[in-house]
Symmetry: C2
Subunit: 315 residues, 2 copies
């Protein structure tokens, strides 16, 4: 039994054939061409689904379920993308459009991309086996997905779970959403890069030595790598980043008390050392931190495949 | 058909007989005596339930359902209070104890008091008819209760929904929970009183005139009343309070996208003028604020009876 997951991004459409062990057996990707009409995007999506099936010698009609992870506000009930920022979707019934192009008789499911990734981790990744869990993606932004009582929580208008857009510092750093002081403005990879650059600038002005000054390009790894090499200024950057990240995680624990929070996105590549740095701060501040029933922090397992696997498992 | 709701507080045990229109027909209250053994507290609770029934000439066995709103971590599934801060409960099966003392054959239900009040507003108050709603209580602290998909959300360990204990200002004002900068430390009545006192002190030192200086005692109403009388310093206090309250409310909207957020507790006595002050700030900052499907802000309807009515309706 095979399922198809489609991860529709602003740059690429990735399609995966997912088996019963939640492994992706075939994966193909085509450019999204995000400025084209929706109809053309969906046509290429359908062609890629067909190509993935063909490679395995399976008829599309034999696919158990098809799901799409999409940017924007995705109405799970109707399969309509109500609005997307970077794609030409406005009340666009992408599920029905894909099903029609494929001649697929069952209904195609859709979910917001961050939610689909969280669903993937819940079904087949770091939060497998739990009914209440939260995924936080530490990438360009801070994304969130919330699974409550075994179901993806989307709110009454399918726009819930914008966990990165909760203010943790009133009048703080400017966020992409227009507010100031959002968690995203302190805990995204973008924020870590900003903090790193600020520290390098500060060191340069003070004549303080830091190996971070020698790097030609600053990335989310610059401070982490320099810290491990014993650089003190880098340690200050990392500690500050961890402090804000822990603050936001404690907020989520006090709100949801989930069994698991899984951390994904580029920063989660730091692995267990990230968890080890966060845990003491989180346990000291959270409600019920001393209890055996305290939320577990885990590194997400599925990486970039979470969206495909989550989409495939929406049905 | 009648139901019984018990609102167990640190000071009083209030018991109400609730009819099918969610009206309390009989209400009785006895002192909690919170330092006594649990057994004695439950005995007085049972006697009060019996007295309420007797006054209406109803046999306890004919009561449709009995519920208790209790402080602390209330396991809804087992009827056990796992822990309470200001009552002698530690893994105490208060539901079974009350049922046994009353000879009541059905199971007694329990919920945390803030959650029971939220449930009351959801079933019979400001959020009636909606499946996803949040109640925020602006009293001594900032309490929260979350109803998702028509059910009270308590997390996997029955401790979820501590919405007041989410940091909105890193390293900010000291909170009772041990953290700094919690929403509670800016949006409770206690916080408003602190802000009012700070402003009076500031005015006194600057030789600035404010009618708030003439009040013998500062309460949560002092700034609101003085503002309405045209006092500028009071307006500054109120605006600051509204700014922080709006910030926390936007956080909750971006997380939950509930149909309704109802505001209860002492500060909600300000009524529609509170909503009118909050709405422009909330709509400008929230995700989806321009949409027709934006969360409604409402003043809670049931007042101090929310706990009794919510407890009665738990079954």
């Amino acid at each position: 039994m095979y399922r198809i997951g489609v991860d529709l991004g602003g740059t690429n459409i990735a399609v995966g054939l997912v088996n019963e062990k939640f492994e992706i057996e075939v994966k193909k990707s085509v450019p999204t061409g995000a400025t084209r009409p929706a109809d053309e995007i969906i046509a290429d999506m359908a062609a890629t689904v067909a190509a993935v099936c063909a490679e395995k010698g399976i008829d599309v009609s034999d696919i158990e379920s098809i799901g799409i992870a999409t940017p924007g506000t995705a109405n799970n009930a109707t399969g309509v993308v109500e609005y997307a920022n970077n794609l030409p979707f406005s009340m666009t019934p992408i599920a029905a459009m894909l099903a029609e192009k494929l001649g697929y008789k069952k209904s195609v499911k859709i979910a917001n991309d961050a939610n689909a990734a969280a669903w993937g981790e819940a079904v087949a990744g770091a939060a497998m086996g739990t009914k209440n869990n939260v995924m936080i993606t530490l990438g360009t932004g801070v994304g969130g997905g919330v699974i409550l009582d075994g179901k993806l929580y989307t709110g009454f208008n399918f726009a819930a779970g914008e966990l990165g857009h909760t203010v943790i510092e009133v009048d703080g750093a400017q966020c992409s959403c227009g507010r100031r002081g959002c968690w995203e403005a302190y805990s995204s990879a973008t924020a870590l890069i900003r903090m790193t650059k600020e520290k390098i600038e500060e060191c340069n002005q003070m004549g303080r030595k830091t190996i971070m000054s020698d790097k030609p390009k600053v990335s989310g790894r610059t401070a982490c790598d320099a810290m491990r090499a014993g650089d003190e200024a880098a340690k200050e950057v990392y500690d500050k980043y961890i402090k804000y990240l822990a603050c936001g995680l404690v907020n989520m624990i006090n709100i949801f008390q989930p069994e698991v929070i899984s951390l994904g996105g580029g920063i989660s590549g730091e692995g267990q050392s990230l968890i080890d740095a966060l845990l003491p701060l989180v346990r000291a501040a959270q409600y019920g931190g001393a209890s055996e029933k305290a939320t577990q922090l885990k590194i997400a397992k599925l990486g970039n495949d979470a969206g495909i696997i989550g989409a495939a498992m929406l049905a």
